[in-house]
Amino acid sequence: MDASIDKRKLVTNCDIDDLVESAISGNFEAFDSIMVHYRDRLFGVIYNMTLNHSDAADLTQETFVKAFRSISKFKRKSSFFTWIYRIGVNLTLTFLKKKRSKYFFSFDQFFGNTSNSDSQLFLSKENSSVKNTLLNELHEKLNEALSKLSDKHRTIVVLYEIDGISHKEIAEIMNCTEGTVRSRLHYAKLQLQSLLSDYVR
């Protein structure tokens, strides 16, 4: 646990490009630090795409294995973050294509710490346990609605709305134009709005 905290500090203090350079020259420790830096965020994206914890963990591992094996092919035309996300997203889309949707509609098992910004949430008057139960149910409904979208539409919603990646970066990750990203996002949100009309304004 302490070691992972140290690694995080190392990544925050050092330039990620230096770690990438070091990893390209075969330094597994450097790659390990990169992995610690990106794994949770990447896992979150993959989890929201697959809606299955074990599949997401497996695909995240596969993403890092593939990234380390082909890191020498990284040409620095894009940022390392975009490059590794592209590997993860493509692996997940391929996986979903093969699996063809037997999704779990399970509750999120790994709640992170909620911050003060929770106060902006709509359920501020409710007590904590009721709020959590309601949130869980809402998230379940959102997962259900997300699973009804196509893989590409769901990926864009997850990347933009949940992971907070820009249109331009999504276009690079998904190898399409920014216009396509905006159009798919608009269509996906319309569909979600209609699917969740009972629960959202």
Binding site: M1, S4, F28, D32, M35, V36, R39, D40, F43, G44, Y47, N48, H53, A56, A57, T60, Q61, E62, F64, V65, F68, R69, D108, Q109, F110, F111, G112, T114, S115, S117, D118, Q120, L121, F122, V130, T133, L134, L135, E137, L138, H139, K141, L142, E161, I162, D163, G164, K189, L192, Q193, L196, D198, Y199, V200, R201
Partner: protein, 170 residues
Amino acid sequence: MLDNMKNSTEKPTLEELFDSKRLHQPSLSASSKFDDDVKIRTLNSFHSYNSLKTNKYLILFTVLFFSCIPFYYFLLSDVSVSNKSVITYTEQKSSILVEESSQNSKLSDDLSSSEFEYVENSYLVSSSTDYEKSFALKTMVLENDTQLYTSISLDDDTFNSQEMSHNHTF
């Protein structure tokens, strides 16, 4: 609980729902096994990749080796066929020359068919001037039954060294 919400006016927006989802993202930090699993999988993939690479080269070499064998036999058979044709051609040529010599009285006196053998010269003519210089005949004098000629030969090591004359008599 959500059923009560259906009729409620206090509903979240889709953006607020996304925000709450973002705050409750699942995390791998709790899973300490993750890093070890990635390391094991990476090493395994390298091992299988390297063995696959070695096997690939081995298979390629074997295929190339076995594909060369028929080609080698084809070349061998081609050479033997061409040798046979040269021998046949040489025999035909010899018999023609023997026939021609029989028509020439002088030749027929000196040669009998058993002594005569036609040899096909397959050496290439060299275009090297050095080679020609070294074997050029400068003079050739014929005196009655004795043939005398003088040749110049150049020393290969010292190209401009003195010329050496040789007299041959036979």
